[in-house]
Amino acid sequence: MPSEPNCRVELLQGTLDLIVLRALDTMGPQHAYGLASRLEQVAQPSLTLNQGTLYPALVRLEQKGWIKGTWRRTEKNREAKYYSITRAGVRGLQKQSERWRRLAGLVDKLLLNEG
């Protein structure tokens, strides 16, 4: 493997599910490509990601019943699998965001103090 920075993978593994949920919650149903573009857009220029990396997160979330995928047509009449957030997903998102905020706050505080 070429020397891709490891930190990127770690960041994504911890947060990708949350990011995907959040994106679906605010933007409504999206396909994987749409989600990936949205991520790149928001995160630019701090990260570029292989769009395929999203798939495990999508599988995980769908198996948990937090998102639901259906095949539809895009405006340009391409077929694509659109994911939408379920009610369980909304509840999950709230809980996860809360946890994330607490954790992030704690880490922030620690980092400030140490610094």
């Binding site: 396909h31 994987a32 490509y33 573009s37 292989n50 769009q51 395929g52 990396t53 798939y55 495990p56 997160a57 999508l58 599988v59 995980r60 198996q63 948990k64 019943g65 937090w66 895009t74 340009k76 391409r78 077929e79 694509a80 699998k81 369980a88 999950g92």
Partner: protein, 888 residues
């Protein structure tokens, strides 16, 4: 919630992989299409857009693999694929797979067979409800078990606080007459609460009525076996009358199968040949009977009392009883009381036999495992390139080891499954082979859930055991050396192979020495001179019932009449009658009085009563004096014939003829003096293994007590095959008493053979294990030497090319074989010296370290290794140096 849902979805996907696969492919390709659209919109060409899309997406296969990983359990999928792969590998080399599976089936199957016996006899609880609360209360005198008197039993019953219920009983042969030919049925004379104590209820009818009931004394409960075989399972039997010992009994109940109280508690050598109990009649116990000990006692512990507590209480009660009732002169006899689990009492005697067999068969299993490990290692050599390629393509060490282990566990499972067939046959075979009466509970042996669990566990464990070494080897494959052709792995591997074969030889050596010792001991036993000539002798046993033969007069008249008839039977050479037939019969050894000399301490004698002609019929040599004759009647002067050993010990070399003695049945003052008129050769009275016991013979006509003649055996020496005159002699008996059942008809050779059936059984079974081990080793050694030759084809070719003789090549191979065998034998001998003493109790007149056997077995194994090296040696000799050197 989400997690649980996800777990089951993953499990579902793991079990049915590939269902979501098309959807994933479709999604990925639609994703790529959208990306391409985007790149084209930005002005790229078709081609550029395609490449850019793939770049932006990342590795397509990796992505799919990650998605699969999230979707299902990948390890599960791996296992599934490994299994699939293993099956393909087995199919590719069917010969290897067959040998491996058969070897394992033999090893696992034999082990499971013996375990089935251990399980049914030693481990499974008795068939009675809550049988772990059942105990036997037994007395011992100087360590030997003695029976309990009614007086003691009734006191125990009245005084104890440990037991819910107690029961006592004894067995006696009764004659069942009417409704067909008379037969003997072993009858249990049982105390009141025997059914409640054991918690068995008759399957038909009911138990005995209460003590006060007048009908009670002539009630009988019959066994399931008797009901089915004698009365055609007729339910109307309840309430009908049957004739036992000439008296009418009313059938009140039919017991379920499997109840044989109190026969099942009787485990002495004498009781061994007794059949199961077929009827039960109530026994009335006299409280002041303290002289006759004849009862076996069983009790059910109260739920809060342990066996040890009961033991303490009962011992206290018994001590008090002894102080009160035991005659002063008997007090110093060391009487002890034991409370033992009923199961323990029943199986104690056979535990050593079963455990020995189990140990032996475990050795066989280990040999089988080592052998399969060997095969796998040998085959691993041919798979080296495959393994190297797989690891070059990225299979990790863990994956390779996993693959190998899955293969070997699959082999183990196949072997185990086939082994169950072996077990199925094995159980029948051993049950048929086992001498009757040797093993209690033998009818309960079957493949039950414990046996299945055992077999499965053994299969998996052996699979891991023999697979581990080859797997580690595969895991250590070094790519560079493998691709280069030769490497250190080969040397390592062939060293493992040799060590394994040597280990197999060592284990087989132990097994074979065990078998050899048992065979030699058996041969010793059968070559013992019984003191008579057993060929061409027919024996018929009868029991004279008290009803029709109350006194000696009727008994003597009966035997004289039968003998008179037998004298005129065609093909009869000589005939006679005896109350204690040598070999296998009960042994009654007792005291006697010598005229003018005190009886030496510990000098007892067997005292059979015989008819004139008995010695000639059996072929017992008359050394001095004369046989009994027709003039030695009841009213003539008492005479006796003694054995040589008796004469020597009693009169120390003086002539025995004319000396006088008394028999010792009852008080000496009341008995007549008997004059010794003859001396005969010594006879093995109880078993061939037993010491030769001195004997005093009395004339049947002068036997002093009716009980002595209750059991009689007629013996006939015939000019033709003795079995062919059996029906004639039956007629001789039935002409005198048509209603008398004949308990047993057997030839003397048969009885002798039966008496050594158990040692023979042990030797044959261990021999079979040993022989199987030898075959396994031969196969293993063949494989290893074949591997050796294949590996060194070039070297051997070179040797031949530079002038080595064929003989040198053969020497090379044979040396290898003998080296492995030699090391194995040395280790095996050391091991055998340590463990064969476990067999000591089974050996007759030979030491467990018998050097001849050790040497013989070593020779057998050397010969076997020479035979096993024949094929590889021939292949080595045929190596063409040109061909060998050209390859690579």
């Amino acid at each position: 919630m989400g997690h649980v849902r996800r777990f089951f979805l993953r499990l579902g996907n793991a079990l049915r992989p590939g269902r979501a696969e098309p959807d994933l492919a479709r999604e990925v390709s639609s994703h790529l299409r959208l990306l391409e659209d985007e790149f084209r919109r930005r002005g790229m060409s078709e081609e550029q857009a395609g490449l850019a899309a793939k770049r932006a997406f990342g590795g397509i296969e990796q992505t799919k693999e990650l998605a699969r990983d999230a979707r299902s359990f990948v390890w599960f999928d791996e296992v599934r694929r490994d299994l699939h792969y293993a099956v393909r590998t087995f199919r590719r080399s069917p010969g290897f797979s067959a040998v491996a599976v058969l070897t394992l089936a033999l090893g696992i199957g034999s082990t499971t067979t013996i375990f089935s016996f251990v399980n049914a006899v030693l481990l499974n609880p008795l068939a009675y409800p809550a049988s772990d609360r059942l105990v036997v209360v037994a007395l011992t005198m100087n360590g030997t078990p003695i029976s309990v008197t009614p007086g003691d039993f009734l006191e125990w019953q009245a005084q104890n606080h440990s037991f819910e219920a107690m029961a006592a009983g004894t067995v006696t042969p009764y004659n069942l007459t009417g409704r067909g030919e008379p037969i003997g049925v072993l009858t249990g004379l049982v105390s009141d609460r025997f059914a409640e104590t054991l918690r068995v209820a008759p399957q038909l009818g009911h138990s005995f009525a209460a003590e006060a009931d007048a009908d009670r004394s002539h009630s009988v409960i019959i066994s399931d076996h008797l009901w089915r075989h004698r009365f055609n399972a007729d339910p109307a039997i309840i309430g009908s009358s049957i004739t036992l010992e000439g008296a009418p009994y009313t059938v009140v109940g039919v017991m379920p199968a499997g109840v044989s109280f109190p026969r099942e508690l009787m485990t002495s050598d004498g009781a061994r040949t007794l059949p199961d109990v077929d009827s039960w009649v109530p026994l009335t116990l006299r409280p002041n009977d303290r002289a006759n000990g004849f009862l076996e006692v069983v009790a059910r512990l109260k739920s809060d009392v342990s066996c040890a507590q009961a033991q303490i209480e009962m011992a206290t009660i018994q001590r008090a009883l002894a102080d009160r009732f035991m005659p002063r002169e008997l007090r110093d006899l060391n009487v002890g009381l034991r409370v033992v689990q009923m199961q323990e009492q029943i199986v104690r005697a056979v535990r050593p036999l079963l455990l020995t067999l189990f140990r032996a068969v475990t050795l066989l299993l280990v040999v089988a495992c080592a052998n399969v490990a060997n095969l796998l290692l040998g085959r691993a050599a041919t798979r080296e390139r495959e393994v190297a390629i797989r690891s070059a393509l990225g299979s990790g060490r863990r994956r390779l080891i996993q693959q190998y282990l899955i293969e070997s566990v699959l082999l183990g499972a196949l072997g185990g499954a086939l082994g169950l067939l072996v077990t199925n046959v094995g159980i029948d075979l051993i049950s048929a082979l086992i001498p009757p009466g040797t093993l209690p509970r033998v009818r309960e042996v079957r493949i039950d859930s414990h046996v299945l669990i055992f077999s499965t566990a053994v299969s998996v464990i052996t699979g891991l055991m023999f697979g581990l070494l080859p797997a580690m080897q595969a895991g250590n494959t070094d790519l560079t050396t493998t691709f280069r052709g030769t490497g250190a792995t080969h040397t390592m591997r062939s060293r493992y192979l040799r060590v394994l074969v040597a280990a197999e030889v060592a284990l087989a050596f132990v097994l074979l020495v065990g078998a050899g010792l048992l065979f030699k001991s058996f041969a010793r036993l059968t070559s013992v001179n019984p003191g008579f000539r057993p060929e061409s002798i027919l024996t018929l046993d009868v029991t004279l019932p008290e009803g029709s033969y109350p006194t000696l007069t009727e008994m003597r008249a009966f035997s004289s009449a039968v003998l008179e008839g037998m004298r005129h039977t065609p093909a009869m050479v000589e005939s006679g009658a005896v109350n204690l037939l040598p070999i296998g019969g009960p042994l009654l050894s007792g005291d006697f009085t010598l005229e003018g000399v005190p009886r030496p301490r510990g000098f007892t004698a067997v005292k059979p009563a015989v008819s004139p002609g008995y010695f000639r019929a059996l072929g017992i040599p008359m050394l001095r004096g004369r046989d009994f004759n027709e003039r030695d009647t009841e009213n003539a002067p008492g005479v006796a014939v003694v054995t040589e050993r008796f004469a020597r010990r009693a009169w120390l070399g003086q002539d025995a003829i004319g000396k006088r003695l008394k028999l010792g049945f009852g008080r000496p003052e009341d008995q007549p003096w008997l004059t010794v008129v003859g001396v005969v050769g010594d006879v093995k009275q109880s078993t061939l293994a037993d010491e030769t016991r001195p004997a005093i013979y009395v004339s049947l006509m002068q036997a002093p007590q009716p009980f002595l003649l209750r059991n009689l055996t007629f013996v006939a020496r015939t000019a033709v095959d003795p079995r062919s005159v059996a029906s004639l002699v039956r007629e001789d008996i039935h002409r005198v008493d048509p209603l008398l059942p004949i308990d047993r008809v057997a030839t003397m050779t048969q009885l002798l053979s039966d008496s050594v059936a158990e040692p023979r059984f042990r030797a044959v079974l261990l021999g079979a294990f040993g022989a199987s081990a030898v075959v396994l080793i031969a196969v293993g050694m063949l494989g290893v030497l074949g591997f050796f030759v294949a590996r060194r084809t070039q070297e051997i070719g070179l040797r031949i090319a530079i002038g080595a003789q064929r003989a040198d090549i053969v020497t090379l191979i044979v040396k290898q074989a003998l080296a492995m065998t030699g090391i194995g034998i040395a280790c095996g001998a050391a091991l055998a010296l340590a463990v064969t003493r476990l067999l000591e109790r089974f050996l007759f007149e030979i030491s467990p370290y018998d050097p001849a056997i050790f040497v013989l077995i070593a020779a057998v194994l050397c010969v076997m290794s020479l035979v096993a090296s024949y094929v590889p040696a021939r292949r080595a000799m045929k190596i063409d140096p040109l061909v060998a050197l050209r390859c690579e």
